[in-house]
């Protein structure tokens, strides 16, 4: 089983390096902010995109968050990773933009976790998702659709934890919800995204076969 957690010492090393870099930026060496941003640009953009689902909004929100990150850098407490701090800004900016678009009601964001059991789709004789059977592009599209199909509540947790790679505590901080709530939503989100992906990915090769003369 792959362990997705980054070792503590590795984490400490990153935090220490960032702290030095941030001190320099705050001392007036502003151009070095690029160095802080460059390794996480992709995740910043994708997180905004995953929340907003349009490229134009995603880019605006990603840029706004990066700018806010610079302007608010003096408020950043160096006891966490810069990436988790910046991604929480992205999440907040994204939510605000969504509310303005009125695509998501406040009620949905606040709705309590569904405590009921979620029953995943059962697979009889597939040991693994047959990823080899799908073109890389197709695979990516199905995964995107699966993420997009998740209710906002679950999508947020999944993106921060499983795409951005924040740990549980960082995800809880970024979303302003408790650790148990992160875990509950994460379980549901992972099972749902898997179900959607599984059903799409296995239907596709069947459709292709049907299409042949």
């Amino acid at each position: 089983m792959q362990n997705t957690l980054v070792g503590e010492s590795e984490n400490d090393r990153v935090v220490a390096q960032e702290r030095e870099l941030i001190a320099e930026i705050l001392a007036g060496n502003h151009e070095r902010y690029y160095e802080l941003i460059a390794p996480i640009e992709r995740r910043v953009y994708y997180t905004a995109y995953a929340i907003l689902r349009t490229k134009a909004d995603a880019e605006e929100v990603a840029q706004e968050a990066i700018l806010k990150g610079f302007r608010g850098l003096h408020t950043f407490r160096g006891n966490a990773k810069f990436s988790s701090w910046l991604l929480s800004i992205v999440m907040n900016e994204g939510r605000m933009r969504l509310r303005r678009r009125r695509e998501v009601s406040l009620e949905l964001l606040k709705s309590p976790d569904d405590e009921g059991e979620y029953t995943p789709i059962e697979l009889a004789d597939w040991r693994e998702i047959p990823v080899e059977a799908l073109a890389q592009k197709e695979l990516g599209e199905h995964l995107e659709e699966a993420v997009a199909a998740l209710p906002q509540l679950y999508r947020e947790v999944l993106i921060l934890r499983d795409v951005d790679g924040l740990n549980i505590a960082e995800t809880s901080g970024a979303l302003g919800i408790s650790v148990p709530a992160v875990k509950t939503r994460l379980l549901r989100a992972r099972l749902m995204v898997r179900d959607y992906f599984v059903s799409r990915s296995w239907a596709a090769p069947a459709r292709l076969r049907e299409a042949q003369p």
């Binding site: 490229k55 990066i66 059991e117 693994e128 990823v131 379980l187």
Partner: protein
């Protein structure tokens, strides 16, 4: 011997993938997985989806995104100097 039901295993799948459980629970869960193909398939496929999700290469930045970010920041840095 105590055993877990499929429902209990399902509830713990996420924690198992995060390596976030007691050694005792891990042993119980793994004992169940050895006996239950259904749950083993669920775990493997969920794990695979997570591996795919974590792959940054699957999504691309829009063309010119990085340079637009740099331009935007360069303007901001200029403001600070004036």
């Amino acid at each position: 011997m105590i055993t877990l039901s499929c429902e209990e295993v399902r509830r713990e799948i996420s924690n198992y993938l995060d390596d976030d459980m007691s050694p005792r629970m891990r042993r119980l869960l793994e004992a169940h997985l050895e006996q239950c193909r259904k749950c083993a398939v669920l775990l493997d496929s969920t794990h695979n989806v997570l591996v795919l999700l974590a792959d940054e290469q699957r999504f691309e930045l829009p063309d010119g995104f990085s340079s637009r970010v740099r331009q935007m920041l360069a303007k901001e840095f200029e403001k600070g100097k004036s």
